[in-house]
Subunit: 576 residues, 2 copies
């Protein structure tokens, strides 16, 4: 993975370059952070000619490490106005890595974005006109691409929302089988791809000869050790069985499950949309329904599902916690089939289901439709695809929806919708939302897993906890692995360095790995400062500091002054 | 003018306080700037509980100085996210001053904004429920208020757009006769008033005994001297005859008249919407049409008009240059009657006609309607009042309209629509738009008047010119006088200090006046920095640096680095 493919989307020029020494040590999120800071103008218009769309391989993308091969998508976010990395499982990451690519960079932008497909293979990179895909949903884009270029390809695409440059637009991809739709959801990067006039990127690794790792045997051994630790961890089994929805009842118990546009933290119909219920329904209904699927080839956790309707026909794959929390409880929709449909609709039109659920919740607060109105919610998402004025409002994310509809209670931080963990009763994640360069992003440092050791409702230790979690997140996102392999690094911190050293022949220590994570965050912070995302934006929304959240009646009360000094905290050696 | 009335719009508490020594030396815009910086949280949500709506009297508001009595309205702008002052003529300013009020401050905000009227008189301040005014247009609000409280009152109100908290919402008021509708247009302050649940503020100066000036005779003499200089200036006569539309043909000749969503700087039908044509039509049509009216009692320039339709019935009063440029040429509408109607519609629903014209231009670029489609444009403005999704989009201003409709060419700086002077061929005003704390605001430092001495298309001297103009603007806005009295201060700079000294018994020099202006700007700048309006936002939109503007094919090319140092420039003594 030592080449960078740069496509000028205005002129059509495509060039390949070899990574510099410095670039070789970056991967995924850290590549994006350093590239944005070093090579682009942070003051650029996110949908203008100066913002690149970066697709970057994680450092371990071409290794047999479980979960490795997640892709990082990045650029300046049209929602937050800052640096953004959204990462996604699926087939494309490993294929891109097998093609030896560190990154694919879509630069500049045409005046009139057309509908084009970028096809990348061994010794091949072409930008093809594809007018037949214009306006198509993500599924209706990815399926014909797999037909045209072969089942072996991995493809990324945008839906109609991305083509319209709606700022909540996602990039979608599939797993190897083409069954699951996986999305790089946060930050509106689909709109950035839309602004380039690129509807899809296809990676075909036919005939590719991946790089030889520095020490194949030692790398395999390290990967096996990681797999063994994971296997022995009880969380792995729970995730395998129930997927991310496993946490729903826990969040409900903690009182952090967004309900009624973040008015409550506990949902009266939580059980009906719980992980346990979903597993039960999948098993009972049979048909196309499945549990325990991997999203990336070779993942041993395999936490994905195919959720089928009562007749056994697929509704959505995979149904996840964030969708249940935002499109379900937050909208007071306690019907899991309806939530699954809403999830699928978001994926198909191509918008982030977190933004979608938050925006619909705000529209419900504005009286556009009633809380609990699933049919009305589906109609809104169909309107996004159709590009009606109301659809475009929703597709622009929760902040625009709230502003345009005159709603004051907007659950967003730095322009981005808050995920399904209300920070009033899980304060560590609130610090991440407020201070982290990504804005309200649960994968950037989720304090849920520290809830047993750090009182989630207390103020003490939240800032330090967040910093540790954020560094860890930056490391995992740079390796291109899933957050769920953390138990392996907790048990054996030097393992992270060992994996890199056996792959690349480096002599890194765990300290170097930690430094990589911190430097990634610092680069993102510096980019944000220059981009104008400043301290003034670093807080939870006003209502979360004033309005107590039932059932614990907590407000977010972590001191802003303490949060402000997060980057100066001296951390212990072990941050996992 | 030494009292401050503070109304807590959440609790209903009303209290009166006496100005501190420091506050006494502030007026209008400078009062707003220092109050915002010193007494509020710059990071607050503009439509939340922490942002005050400030109504402030200019320092000369209770003097006989020509044009004095313009009101300053201020707060954190929901459009720019920074400090905002919008000022307005009409009757209310002098009445507020006669009541001895330095400022009226609406603080906090109710959870559910109702429709209320704040009535202020001698020894009286009451917040009255007024459900009958809910949803009413500005005219249909101000007329019944004048009926209910008497023709002698001055009232400020918002339209349905403000009640909906649409971010392009204005405050409207009338002149003494109730004929002209005047608006504090920029920055969305109507939405701030809407967020307080206050539909209107009524000033009744019946029985008020204004303060005695320090030296009445000397003040009258100074005011007379000012009047005499104004009278002798040829520009005064031109303004009296043609009003602000007098500059339309000049702007067209300079190639800075926004046309076709800022694609061109010259409009093929400019003559049809020119000041000369308007004057001719007013005279020819007769009926209710009028020219040469004052907007503030006692103004000797009297540049306002009543524009009537062919049957002689009033369409709008007063029809002004900005409306002609934005709602006319920018939308390719060359029919002056249509532009007048669009202007009136903007006023009635209560949105800024500059934002409206720019937003409609962007909607035309997006293909929502065709350029030149006056009926379609009227329909969009009616939709604002009706609160349809598309209406709410337009009412949220040009940036939201552009984002939601997926348009890249958005003529805005710091979130606010660019007025009718394209900065590519009038570069000094571009520096004001980019660097000034108000964002794209022509009254904050308009280089049109320096176009004869500083080449408007050249890069040289633009930054210094802008700084001088900005300081001057801040002074005039703090005195509460019109920009059009500048000739008096050009001819006799110490006159500005003489007016203040005779009114207040101060010993100010012209240097002190200049310092007041600069300190006002610095306070606004500092507030903006803390609010997160930073250097990253300090530039013209991307397309204006890349896309040449016909007919002169200029781009905006003033060096960002040079602009960045604007506040460090050492100025000559005379900045008028």
């Amino acid at each position: 993975m030592n080449t960078i493919l740069t496509v000028n989307t205005r002129t059509g020029d495509i060039r390949t370059s070899t990574c510099t020494e410095e670039e070789l040590a970056w991967g995924g999120r850290s590549f994006i952070a350093h590239h944005l800071l070093g090579k682009t103008d942070p003051a650029c218009d996110p949908l203008g000619r100066g913002n690149p769309l970066i697709i970057a391989s994680g450092l371990l993308a071409d290794t047999p490490v479980s979960t490795a091969g997640r892709l990082s998508i990045g650029g300046k976010s049209p929602l937050t106005g800052g640096a953004k990395e959204a990462n996604v499982g699926g087939a494309a990451g490993r294929k891109m890595a097998r093609l030896g690519m560190k990154a694919v960079i879509l630069e500049d932008a045409p005046d009139d974005p057309r509908c084009r497909v970028l096809v990348i293979g061994k010794d091949r990179a072409e930008l093809l006109d594809a007018p037949e895909l214009a306006g198509q949903n993500t599924r209706a884009t990815l399926s014909p691409l797999r037909e045209r270029f072969g089942e072996q390809v991995g493809a990324l695409c945008i839906g109609p929302a991305g083509e319209m440059r709606l700022t909540a637009a996602i990039l979608a991809t599939t797993d190897d089988t083409g069954v699951q739709l996986r999305v790089a959801g946060r930050g509106g990067l689909g709109a950035v791809m839309g602004s380039k006039g690129v509807k899809a990127v296809v990676f075909d690794d036919t005939g590719a000869r991946p790089e030889e790792p520095f020490d194949r045997k030692a790398l395999s051994a390290a990967a096996r050790d990681l797999g063994a630790i994971l296997k022995a961890d009880p969380k792995t089994d729970n995730r395998h069985n129930l997927g991310t929805p496993a946490v729903l009842m826990l969040c409900n118990a903690l009182g952090i499950l967004p309900t009624r546009n973040f008015r409550e933290g506990r949902f009266e119909h939580a059980e009906a949309i719980s992980g346990e219920m979903i597993a039960e329904l999948i098993d009972k209904r049979g048909g196309e329904g499945r549990r325990g699927l991997p999203c990336v080839q070779g993942c041993t956790i395999a936490c994905s599902n195919v959720f089928a309707d009562p007749s056994g026909k697929t509704t959505v794959a995979s149904l996840q916690y964030e969708n249940l929390g935002l499109l379900g409880s937050n909208c007071c929709i306690g019907d899991v089939d309806a939530v699954a449909e809403l999830n699928d609709l978001s994926n198909q039109v191509g918008i982030d289901s977190i933004e979608a659920g938050a925006a619909i919740g705000v529209a419900m607060e504005a009286g556009v439709l009633a809380f609990g109105d699933a049919e009305g919610a589906k109609d809104l998402l169909r309107q996004v695809g159709a590009g009606t004025p109301m659809g475009r409002i929703i597709g622009s994310g929760v902040v625009t929806t709230g502003r345009v509809l005159g709603v004051r209670r907007i659950p967003a931080i730095k322009g981005q919708a808050i995920p399904a963990y209300d920070p009033r009763s899980l304060k560590g994640i609130g610090v991440t939302y407020a201070m982290g360069p990504m804005g309200a992003d649960h994968t950037a440092g989720n304090a849920l897993e520290t809830a047993k050791t750090v009182d989630p409702q207390g103020r003490t230790g939240q800032v330090e906890t967040s910093l540790r979690l954020q560094i860890r997140g930056a490391i995992l996102d740079s390796l291109g692995v899933c957050l769920f392999i953390r138990p392996a690094f907790v048990k054996d911190p030097p393992l992270s360095a060992r994996l890199l050293n056996t792959r690349y022949g480096w002599q890194w220590t765990y300290r170097d790995v930690r430094a990589m994570g911190l430097e990634c965050l610092r680069a993102e912070q510096e980019y944000n400062t220059r981009a104008g995302v400043t301290e003034a934006m670093c807080d939870v929304p006003e209502f979360m500091r004033r309005e107590p959240l039932p059932p614990h009646n907590t407000v977010f009360d972590v001191d802003r002054e303490e949060m402000r000094h997060i980057w100066e905290i001296k951390l212990p050696e072990d941050i996992f």
